[in-house]
Amino acid sequence: MIQAAPLAVQGIFVAVLLAAVAIRRSAPLAAAVTGVGFVAALCTIPAAMHGAAIAGEQFDLSGATYGFWAVILSVGFLLSVMGSGYWRGAKNLPAEEFFILLLVATLGACVLAAAKDVLFLFLGLETMTLAMIGMIAYPRHRPEAAEAGIKYLILSAMSSAFLLFGFGLLELATGSLGLADVLAAPNTPMAVAGLAMVGVAAGFKLSVVPFHIWVPDVYAGAPAPSGAFLAVVPKLAVLAVILRATGLPGAALAPGALHVVSVVAALSMLAGNLLALQQQNVKRILGFSSIAHLGYLLVAILAAGEVGRVAVVFYAVTYALTMVAAFGVLAVLSNAGAARDAETIADLRGLFWSRPGLAAVMTLALLSLAGMPPAIGFIAKMYIFAAGVHQELWWLVGTMIASSVIGLFYYLSMILAMAQRQAPAPAAAGMQAGGRLVLGVVSLAVLVLGVAPEPLIALVKAMLG
């Protein structure tokens, strides 16, 4: 059973953390236990990979799954380090539960990413989502956070309902709960309706157009570390499922469905970037930008093939690193005890002169999101273009170019705001050692992998086998 050790380790650490918090309430202790839990789970991955292959019914324990686990757990670890600094600012808000929720949500994401069975897929999804609602609404002194939590709760419940109904219909059509059987459902109206409902639920989780309405409010209301989690982890987990599903035999979508996905991709790219143009709130901008990035990812998914699959994973890793860096800067600038985070463009103004290091990290992250060298986003975007050109998806590639140019505008506006000369002194910001450590690590990765991406490409290829 060594193959599923990362899941078990996380489960154990959830129990350990609960016990630790019950014995002694201490945020640093909780953060430390969480961090150790993530590291321990990460450390078991190599051993788990070397275990004999088992053909389980519930979990797909392939290289790709381990790869996604590694990324999800790393993000969880980085956010636990970042969170320990962030929550220190809130004097009368105990932070221990945040770490419990973080650990549980990550466990749920790992289960979801590995699920090969509809039941476990749903189990993982709900574990992750319910914990995330708590994470979003965590700073209870902020009305926006509570509002964001409620919004996310209602919309998640709705998408879960779609998912369950869809799976129900598919089960009725095929008589099986296995993902492979379900996807290979015969082309009956019932099965098509079921697949469509599952698609709607996936669209919610990926926040692509037209299921993106919740994104700006929830991103803006959530505290920065939760925002980073929300932006990255659920998407990684759902992408892992989609990547596995598209690799299954008999999973080829009908041409009509492919057209629908293409339209969704194009609309996401355009809408995400266009809607971001007028925003003044950096979290909202990052939210809209994530819609556009998921649109790009859909292009890679549509391109399929070997290049496309590698492109999906490479882009997902890039996106994770970059979003953690961008939200991380906001987290380091913010104080959890304050009425709101440092989240408007005005808060970033003059950052180059007051906090040059943070500004450099933010610039690198924004360049990466914009797809400029020397950041890794450049290589990632090239990879998707390559996949698109390879499969001759010309009009999608064209849309991607157009929307990228639109996107440049608001990324550049943020960079220019940071570079403005006469700067008002930024609000008293915490000196969060943990957050800055995370930023250092992440930005180094963004830079180094942007200059020499080959190791990551080779790793992704090996993982996808």
Partner: protein, 482 residues
């Protein structure tokens, strides 16, 4: 290996210059200047290589896509690299006395932009070329956005959107080219030599060529893709304007010469008539608009559009003589326009205005500045005996056999050039003194810079053969296509 030094020294110099201003405000300048001098010391001896490629360096970079870190230096890229380094040194010296805020970061951006440009001139792998192409852009955006004049924000955004947006066309183009090549031969590569001689035919080949053409013409700022240039050049600080006009514009021409014409001989032959007419349009458009400007810096920016029209014509008449002229004009224009931007920058520093209507009669107050100004305006106009004339003449001479009508029109375009040049001299330096001024003329630092640039222009004008000899092998290797 020494090719890597050409990139590493400026990059490293920039990294050192950034924090150096904490120690002493002059230290970033000294570090940058020393780094560029060291780069020049590496670059100059390379000319004495024996083979056609003076130097070559290649290691695998992203083997998954057949991309390699392949640098190479031939005569043409040697000339442009040396031009980059030398004008980079001038752009540092020009702001020596100015009170620049955050001087360390300023010089870091300057050095990184120069490093990116050198990389563009050296790269022999298409993806690596694109990488440097994008890399030189960001520091320049910073230079404009932070240290520019009053409308710097708009200028920076325009510059960024135009050049980056068109850059994506290059990316799609080279990806398409590489995949078509893979389909034909089974090898996925972005290497320049591997792709040379494998022009994809049909509509796909033409579209790819068109994408690259548009991107390079945007950078070259020929009509009608010049929209970003006037505001960007006007708003950039002096050092930024010098680099933009003297070096960055040249990367567009270099791209056309090095990649578009050799990689797509048939497709570019199909496009040539349109390109030639665009060249003529640029010549006239730039000249007429320059004539109407009141802002001295803007005027020079428009003359650049006009001169780049000649370059466009020279590239697309496709014969060795015109190509020689193009390379020569790139260098001469780099020197003369760089000098003009330095002079206008000095004027703005003294008068706090760039408006010609507030100048006039400067010759009495600033005899040295004014005489140098008049000299370089005449040089830019193409006065025989000075560098630009040689380049323009070679282009026209080469073009006449292929496209007489175009050549005649382009030659007529020299008349408005004379008009705007003389008007600029008249309005700025001659005429009645409108305002009482108490300002200092050029000091020894500025005099020395101007004398060096003037000497270079005169040398290029009266004894152009050495430069032509250096460029000749590259030109003849490009092959004279139909």
């Amino acid at each position: 290996m020494s090719l890597c030094l050409l990139l590493a020294i400026p990059l490293l110099g920039g990294c050192l210059a950034w924090p150096a201003d904490r120690l002493h405000p002059h230290l970033p300048r000294i570090i940058s200047l020393l780094a560029l001098a060291a780069t020049l010391a590496v670059a100059l001896p390379m000319l004495h290589g024996t083979s056609f490629w003076l130097a070559d360096f290649s290691v695998p970079w992203i083997p998954a896509f057949g991309m390699s870190f392949h640098l190479g230096l031939d005569g043409m890229s040697w000339l442009l690299t040396v031009l980059t380094i030398v004008l980079g040194m001038f752009s540092i010296v020009v702001s020596w006395r100015e009170n620049v805020e955050k001087i360390g970061f300023f010089h870091a951006n300057l050095m990184w932009s120069l490093a990116g440009t050198i990389g563009v001139f050296l790269a022999l792998d298409l993806f690596l070329f694109f990488y440097f192409w994008e890399l030189m852009l960001v520091p320049m955006v910073f230079i404009i956005a932070i240290w520019g004049h009053e409308d710097r924000r708009i200028a920076a955004i325009k510059f960024f959107l135009f050049t980056q947006g068109s850059g994506l066309l290059i990316l799609i183009g080279i990806l398409g080219l590489a995949f078509l090549h893979q389909r034909a031969t089974g090898v996925l590569t972005f290497g320049y030599f591997a792709l040379l001689g494998h022009e994809p035919g049909g509509a796909a080949g033409f579209l790819i060529m068109l994408g690259l053409f548009i991107a390079f013409v945007v950078k070259l700022a020929a009509f009608p893709a010049h929209v970003w240039l006037p505001v960007t050049h006007t708003q950039a600080p002096t050092a930024g304007s010098v680099i933009l006009a003297s070096i960055l514009l040249k990367t567009g021409a270099y791209g056309l010469l090095r990649f578009v014409v050799p990689l797509f001989p048939t497709a570019s032959h199909t496009l040539a008539p349109i390109a030639l007419w665009l060249g003529v349009a640029s010549i006239f458009y730039g000249a007429v608009l320059a004539y109407g400007q009141n802002d001295f810096k803007r005027l020079i920016a428009y003359t650049s559009i006009s001169h780049m029209g000649f370059v466009l014509i020279g590239v697309f008449v496709c014969n060795a003589l015109a190509w020689q002229g193009v390379v020569f004009l790139l260098i001469a224009h780099g020197v003369s326009t760089g000098a003009l931007f330095i002079i206008v920058g000095a004027l703005q520093q003294r008068l706090h205005t760039r408006e010609l209507s507030r100048m006039g009669g400067l010759w009495g107050d600033l005899p040295k500045l004014s005489s140098f100004g008049a000299f370089f305006v005449l040089a830019a106009m193409g006065l025989p005996g000075l560098g630009n004339f040689v380049g323009e003449f070679l282009i026209l001479r080469g073009a006449y056999g292929a496209a007489p009508l175009i050549t005649i029109l382009a030659a007529i375009g020299l008349v408005p050039a004379a008009l705007y040049s003389l008007i600029a001299i008249q309005r700025a330096f001659h005429g009645p003194v409108r305002e009482a001024r108490a300002i200092a003329d050029f000091g020894w630092r500025e005099n020395a810079m101007m004398l060096a640039l003037a000497a270079a222009i005169i040398w290029l004008g009266v004894y152009p053969q050495p430069v032509l000899d250096v460029a000749a092998p590259s030109i003849s290797a490009m092959g004279v296509t139909p």
